[in-house]
């Protein structure tokens, strides 16, 4: 029984209705005086409310795609955030690989022919260096299937959800592939391959795309080394830094900016939609920095921009004057960045830390990103 999907939702909704019906039907049993009767009433109300709350939570999770499996929820509840994650020790794998589970067309007004709208591939990426594996949805643009481009190595971008996040929402809710396809058709965006992922690699732990010291998950190396290697190995994708970018919202934005800043020989551009700059540590992250303040600083992007040379990358940072709390830090970051870094900012008058904001920003952000890469 999958956590997401209609089955659980319909079941919960039916149970809620049933609970209401039962309470209304047997109402008179608790209508007497006495403590027992009072407790029964309170229990009945609480029970119905619990059912409704569960239904609302499941519906919200379905829509926004925070958690995609019962295991992730169980891990959070038990405080087991996922161990080192580097399980595939000594497997002798010589390079990172992409395993394609299924492919599907993108449903667009002009049909689903790959030559017209591109193709989605539902895959697992197995990292050679880190031993980590992750689900990725890879979008190949229409040009990838056109004869005129058969010898072209395409630029590529890692596209990320926030934390927690379900990768399928990048297609269905934030609509990165269809927005890119539309932009390409209009001539505003250039063709590129999208590698859509969640930063929740060792679910449900929030690794903040960090190489966790002491044998913890090497989440930064997975994104920086394993993912590009695997994708370059299997697809007609460039190996040049100026052809690789990253884009994501919230935690995904922090990750995009961090991975590009730390690996500017492999990535040329990054977009951080409502990303933050500080190195988080909380209940869902656990100890990410091995207790070292210096290593935490190295993962603090504001510290990096203030204390290290600015790397040779182009970045786009988005925020709002009203609704986001990273407005001032975004301006500070842009001010402290020095040559040879390019810093672009997209600043909205209004807009909170939510999907309507990102939905409004993704089209211009993808246009910016695809034109940085070649």
């Amino acid at each position: 029984m999958s956590l997401t999907g209609n089955f659980v939702l319909v079941l919960l909704a039916l149970l809620t209705i049933a609970a209401v019906a039962v309470v209304v039907r047997y109402w008179s049993r608790f209508a007497n005086r006495g403590f027992k009767s009072l407790a029964g009433r309170a229990g009945a109300i609480a029970g119905v409310q619990l059912m409704l709350l569960l239904t609302v939570c499941a519906a919200a999770n379905d829509y926004y795609g925070f958690y995609s499996s019962w295991g992730q929820l169980a891990g959070l509840a038990s405080g087991d955030l996922g161990g080192s994650g580097a399980a595939a020790l000594g497997n002798g794998q010589t390079s990172s690989t992409v395993t394609v589970q299924s492919t599907g067309g993108l449903q667009m007004p002009n049909g689903s022919d790959p030559q017209k709208v591109g193709e989605l591939q539902y895959t697992t990426i197995h990292g050679q260096r880190t031993g980590l594996s992750a689900t990725a949805i890879i979008y190949l643009p229409p040009q990838y299937f056109q004869a005129a481009y058969k010898d072209t190595d395409f630029p590529a971008a890692i596209v990320s959800t926030g934390y927690p996040g379900d990768v399928t929402k990048l297609v269905s809710l934030l609509r990165y592939p269809s927005r890119l396809a539309t932009g390409i058709a209009l001539g505003t965006d250039k063709p590129m391959v999208l590698v859509m992922m969640s930063p929740m690699i060792v679910a449900p732990r929030d690794t903040e795309c960090t190489d966790v010291p002491g044998g913890g998950p090497q989440a930064e190396s997975f994104w920086a080394d394993d993912v590009p290697n695997a994708v370059e190995h299997q697809y007609r994708v460039t190996g040049q830094a100026r052809g690789w970018g990253l884009i994501g919202d919230s935690t995904g934005g922090y990750c995009a900016l961090k991975v590009a800043m730390m690996n500017s020989d492999k990535f040329g551009a990054a977009v951080s939609l409502s990303g933050y700059f500080d190195a988080l540590e909380d209940g869902t992250t656990g100890d990410l920095y091995g207790g070292s303040q210096s290593y935490r600083n190295a993962n603090d992007l504001m510290w990096r921009i203030e204390n290290l040379p600015s790397p040779p990358i182009s970045v786009l940072l988005t925020t709002s004057k009203s609704g986001e709390d990273d407005y001032h830090s975004t301006l500070d970051f842009a001010k402290d960045a020095k040559a040879p870094m390019k810093v672009s900012t997209l600043i909205r008058a209004d807009g909170g830390h939510n999907f309507s904001t990102w939905n409004a920003e993704i089209a211009p952000a993808m246009q910016w990103l695809s034109n940085q890469l070649d």
Partner: protein, 337 residues
């Protein structure tokens, strides 16, 4: 609505109180709605529904305030301004990789090869170094004009003076077709023996940015050398041997082969993230190749846990040019044995 912001404490408190009041009210009115009339029936359903609505609203408002999704009513209702401004500042100079090298002096030695000296300032690490770049005679030959060469980095930091190494490279009879980059710290004798750190030291020297990114991009921008890990190898004497081993193990995406000449001692900080043996024990073995010459001990004593696809070769009596030849053959897919 002033004071009743969507994420204000006041708003959530009011919702919470309302929920509580409705809860108590329902319990209190319960007996009066116990009849069988239509009115009683709809009263029950109505009260239950209002109770639940209040609770759901409270929970949603609390969650929203905690995670900071919507911070204003305007935003929730989609009434906020959709306008934005996109500002660009600066531009990445396409020549910035090459610009890491300055004071470039090229001296030709005919059939022996070419030596380039340059001062390097790593654009990411900020680390300064002195480079002596040896280009083999093939580099300028017409047959090789369109060919990329592998690169071998020689960490001569401990010696300070790259001169003897370069002289040996020039003097060898049958030079390997590789670009050899001899790295020393800039003519500052105080740096001797300290060298450039093998990895990024938090709060200190960003050695990994230097060796992994700055140096490779600088050479790639100026010479016909690719940026793949299979294009890059490194060699050092026993004293500086930890760096090449670290590159080939922990930065296997940038260096795929390494050689250490002499009785290398692994770092004393065993069991930490900077210990190659610990790294190998903890993470998958990379597809790299290592050469130890005159190690004086079995490899399993200094680097336990070697396994496929990592390959280790031992030798005796190798000097830098011989190690460069071995690395070049290895990088070109030749026999590593």
């Amino acid at each position: 609505m002033i004071g009743f912001g969507i994420n204000s404490k006041k708003f959530i408190l009011v919702l919470g109180l309302l929920t509580l009041i409705l809860f108590v009210l329902t319990i209190w009115l319960w007996p009066r709605l116990a009849g069988r009339t239509k009115r009683a029936m709809s009263g029950r359903i109505g009260l239950l529904a209002v109770c639940q609505l209040a609770l759901v609203a409270t929970v949603l408002a609390t969650g929203n305030a905690y995670f900071g999704f919507y911070t204003s009513w305007k935003d929730l209702l989609g009434l906020g301004s959709q306008s934005y401004t996109l500002t660009n500042k600066g531009d990445v100079n396409p020549g910035q990789s090459a610009a890491q090298l300055a004071s470039v002096v090229t001296s030709g030695y005919g059939a022996q090869g070419t030596v380039v000296t340059a001062k390097m300032t790593g654009s990411r690490s900020g680390i300064d170094a002195q480079l002596s770049i040896y280009l083999p005679p093939q580099y300028n030959a017409a047959d090789y004009a369109k060919r990329d060469f592998p690169a071998v980095v020689v960490d001569a930091a401990g010696e300070g003076d790259p001169g003897p190494i370069v002289a040996k490279l020039l003097a060898q009879g049958n030079p390997a077709a590789a670009v050899v980059v001899v790295v020393s710290t800039s003519d500052n004798s105080a740096d001797q023996g300290s060298g450039i750190s093998c990895s990024d030291v938090p709060g200190g020297m960003q050695g990994d940015l230097f060796w992994g990114q700055d140096l490779r991009t600088a050479i790639n921008a100026r010479y016909r050398v690719g940026l793949g890990a299979d294009d890059w190898g490194a060699v050092a004497d026993a004293q500086n041997g930890t760096c090449p081993v670290t590159f080939a193990l922990e930065d296997a995406d940038r260096y795929s082969a390494a050689a250490v000449l002499g009785a290398w001692q692994p770092p004393s900080a065993s069991g930490s993230d900077t210990d190659p043996a610990w790294y190998l024990k903890t993470f998958p073995a990379p597809p790299s190749r290592l050469l130890f010459s005159d190690l004086g001990r079995p490899v399993s004593q200094v680097l336990p846990g070697v396994r496929s696809p990592l390959q280790v070769t031992t030798a005796t009596g190798m000097d830098v040019p011989a190690a460069v030849t071995w690395l070049t053959q290895t990088l070109e897919g030749g026999a590593a044995a």
